[in-house]
């Protein structure tokens, strides 16, 4: 018993020390953008509002602004007016704003969209697999996907209107050389 306790204590202390030491290898504010420049991972999810299927494929050839969010996330609320303005501006064009809810319950997310009056499509990523494949650090996070299906840019944290417009403009120019 005593031996088990001893080995457990040694293993725990060593493990903790190792994890904390490895944490020095990088600056936590410097988040890798491994998926930028690569094809956007395909997904099929359920729409938050009506349960219909939402897949990235159905927006092929369009510019997709993919916004990961959650109802409990305060910066998501901060960036919402910018998203609303951009959505109103590009509605029905070659630019699509698509929300992906993760780390959240569908009910809370629905209440959130109703309260803020968001009318663009959001899909629910229940098990967080889509967020994981995109390499999302935490909500909010926005990906700019070009007409060619390649992730052209990524913005971590709350996004403002000018960053959204610049991102979209760059992709539009690239699509029409």
């Amino acid at each position: 018993m005593k031996r088990v306790a001893r080995y457990t204590a040694v293993a725990l202390i060593l493990g903790l020390a190792l994890v904390l030491t490895l944490a020095f290898r990088r600056d936590p504010h410097d988040i890798k953008t491994g998926t930028v420049g690569k094809p956007a991972p395909a997904f099929t999810l359920r729409s938050l509002t009506d349960g219909t299927s939402v897949s990235l494929d159905q927006y092929k050839g369009k510019i997709v602004v993919l916004n990961f969010w959650a109802s409990w996330c305060i910066p998501c609320k901060e960036e919402n007016p910018a998203l609303t303005n951009v959505w109103e501006r590009y509605r029905g064009t070659d630019v699509v704003l698509l929300g992906v809810v993760f780390q959240d319950s569908a009910d809370a997310a629905r209440t959130y969209t109703t309260r803020l009056g968001n009318t663009w499509t959001s899909a629910i990523d229940g098990d967080g697999q889509v967020a994981l494949r995109y390499g999302v650090f935490g909500p909010p996070e926005t990906y700019f996907i070009g007409a060619d299906g390649i992730i052209a840019g990524r913005h971590i944290g709350p996004i403002d209107e000018s960053t959204l417009l610049t991102g979209i403009d760059t992709l539009r120019k690239a699509a029409r050389p």
Binding site: A17, L20, L22, H29, K32, A70, W72, D104, F137
Partner: protein
């Protein structure tokens, strides 16, 4: 001689004294040498005074804007008001560590003077442990790791400094929150040092527990009040109307508080039944280690947090310190584990000791789950390279059920006798509380609470309140019968005669207030955002909010755009001025909310955006947050209850006769 010379000189002399004290105390403990102990005691006082001089020198440098020091140049400006200049002592890493060192030096001096009188040998070894810690911190503040007195070359001294971080000069609570937390953190080192001393000496009696009870209680209370003050600061400054976000730095503060709470309860089992000895020592070691882990996480810059601190050489040093504490604590505990074995068992499940044990298991579970959530991003990256963050839902999902179970035990435990309860006792003790719980649930449902957790919170809060009221009623009745006192005299006497018990109940009431405030504010907040032209109004939850206009306010250290709002409704009339503040050292304007605090609800207003060119419109966000001020009041009640519990009973004053040092050391 400059402030820098005085401070740096005092710290170096302090380090020399601390190292001397370490040697002297260790020798005094080992050889029972009274002269060495006398020397260690003198050195402890000297070291404290020197560190005090260094802290005052830093405050002097900040107040006189001595920009020849890097710390002052980076955290002060000529326009910084004197109050914020003085408290900039803890506005950044090096100054915070300097304050920490001062508190630790104070603890060392206290143990040297008071502790070594009552438990000479044990306290002498504890003193040596504390001197070792003080030496470590003095090394930090005298080397590149966290030297607050680093100078700027004579030709590079700036004419003005950059000023403190805008968020740290925007609210007076900044004066309170960090020092309270540091006091709480540092005082955990006293029980730890005694526990280590007891393990080194192989003392298996419980005298160190009694000796360190006050330090443990004080550190717990200061940490608790400091956490609530931090929540209040975040609420009043950050402008999102929240007070807790499960940020790594918040988690770092809550973890030692959780284990310290567990310890304050389980120590009673050891005192009454001589059980849980190993467990209690483990909790003391864990609490102290968690304060250092928290400091490491906060100060090393390894986690992504809103409290972003720059990386410095302090990270690896704190990590080494943390590992050394774990190795020393766990190593000694395992070495002595055979001697500490309990000679009895807990027994009946419905006894006070069993409830304390369940409660302890839950507190430790809460700590470990918070620890896992905090460290998970580091573990995930170490194992798979994935960078991710753990959001609030994880913590809410795990901690809310644990919290509710703890609330239930908080009502249950004090109503059960030691050793076990009969059926008759259970009926007598729980009839009223169970009825109160049903009433609490009903109130919650009638108030429109939705969801199991808020309704259960109200029910359990009423349950705990009823148990506390019942205890007070019984205590008063007993005193009136036995001592023929009036009701009020009997009530007061409960606190003066048995402050520990009844102070504890006051703490329970404070916790109930905090819990009810959290449940209500989380589930019943109403929010509305509108863009208004001057003269326009919006209505939120019975309040009529009128935008009177927008104006600019210029101060030497900042420029603010303020929205003048009139709030009427629910019997209140208030003028609020939410603003956006621009500091010269920050690109981004920071929100300064306007808050009308009330016992029923707070009206929390934010100027989200405005027309920069013509001031023709403003976007105003209004949050009506019910009962949130009960959270701060509850924190104060917890602190007050702890004060009652720590207050010495009248009789204890008469027996405190100090023994001469030489005799005491020789007699051990």
């Amino acid at each position: 001689m400059s402030w820098g010379d005085i401070g740096a000189g005092a710290l170096r002399a302090g380090l020399a004294l601390a190292l001397w004290g370490l040697g002297a105390a260790a020798y005094a403990g080992w050889k029972r040498d009274a002269r060495a102990l006398a020397s260690a005691r003198a050195v402890a006082i000297g070291a404290f005074l020197l560190v005090l001089v260094a802290d005052l020198a830093m405050v002097g440098a900040l107040l006189s804007h001595d920009f020849s020091l890097v710390y002052v140049a980076e955290n002060n400006a000529r326009a910084t008001p004197a109050f914020y200049s003085a408290i900039s002592l803890w506005a950044a890493l090096a100054g915070s560590i300097l304050l920490w060192t001062l508190i630790l030096a104070g603890a060392v001096a206290y143990v040297a003077i008071r502790g070594t009188r009552s438990l000479p040998r044990l306290a002498t070894i504890a003193l040596a442990v504390l001197f070792a810690m003080l030496s470590f911190f003095l090394v930090l503040v005298t080397t590149a790791a966290a030297d607050p007195f680093t100078r700027i070359a004579a030709d590079g001294i700036p004419g003005d400094g950059t000023g403190p971080n805008p968020l740290l000069q925007n609210h007076p609570l900044m004066a309170l929150h960090p020092p309270l937390l540091y006091l709480g953190y540092v005082l955990t080192s006293v029980p730890f040092a005694y526990a280590i001393a007891a393990l080194i000496l192989g003392e298996t009696n419980d005298r160190w527990l009694t000796e360190t009870r006050k330090a443990a209680l004080a550190s717990w209370a200061l940490l608790g009040v400091g956490i609530v003050a931090g929540a209040w600061w975040s609420y009043a400054v950050l402008g999102w109307g929240g007070y807790w976000a499960w940020d790594p730095v918040e988690n770092a503060a809550i973890m030692p508080w959780l284990t310290a709470t567990a310890y304050l309860h389980s120590v009673m089992v050891e005192e009454k039944r001589r059980l849980l000895r190993t467990w209690n020592i483990a909790l003391v070691i864990a609490t102290f280690a968690l304060t250092i882990l928290g400091t490491f996480l906060t100060r090393s810059g390894v986690v992504n947090s809103v409290h972003s601190f720059t990386q410095s050489a302090i990270g690896p040093l704190l990590l080494g310190y943390f590992v050394a504490i774990l190795v020393l604590g766990a190593g000694l505990l395992l070495y002595r584990i055979g001697d500490l074995a309990d000679r009895g068992s807990i027994g009946a499940p419905l006894s006070r000791e069993s409830i304390f044990l369940f409660q302890n298991v839950l507190f430790v579970a809460a700590t470990l789950t918070v620890l896992l959530g905090t460290l998970y991003p580091l573990i995930a990256e170490a194992l798979s390279g994935a960078q991710l963050s753990i959001g609030a839902p994880y913590f809410d999902r795990v901690e809310v059920p644990i919290g509710l179970a703890l609330l239930f035990l908080m009502g249950l435990g004090p109503q059960l006798p030691w050793h076990g309860a009969s059926r008759a006792t259970l009926e007598r003790q729980f009839t009223a509380p169970v009825i109160a719980a049903a009433g609490g649930a009903l109130v919650a449902i009638l108030a429109g609470m939705i969801g199991v957790a808020p309704v259960l919170t109200y029910a359990l809060a009423a349950f705990v309140m009823a148990t506390v009221a019942q205890e007070f009623a019984r205590g008063v009745r007993a005193r009136r019968t036995l001592h023929a006192e009036t009701g009020l005299a009997a009530f007061v006497a409960l606190f003066t005669r048995n402050g520990r018990r009844y102070g504890g109940y006051v703490v329970h009431l404070g916790i109930v207030m905090v819990v009810v405030a959290i449940a209500t504010s989380q589930s019943r907040t109403i929010e509305l955002e509108r863009t208004l032209a001057p003269g326009d109004a919006m209505d939120v939850a019975g309040y009529h909010v009128v935008l009177r206009g927008l104006r600019d306010v210029a101060e030497p250290q900042r420029a603010t755009t303020v929205a003048d709002l009139s709030i009427t409704g629910n019997g209140a009339t208030r003028e609020l001025r939410p603003g956006l503040v621009q500091y010269p050292n920050s690109q981004q304007a920071i929100g300064s909310p306007g808050i009308a605090a009330g016992s029923r609800d707070d009206v929390y207003t934010i100027l989200a955006a405005y027309d920069v060119t013509g001031k023709a419109w403003a976007t105003i966000r209004v949050r009506v947050i019910p009962l949130v001020s009960w959270l701060w009041a509850g924190g104060a009640v917890v602190g007050f209850g702890a004060l009652i519990a720590a207050w010495p009973p009248p009789r204890a004053k008469r027996v405190a006769v100090p023994a001469p040092v030489a005799d005491a050391v020789g007699a051990e």
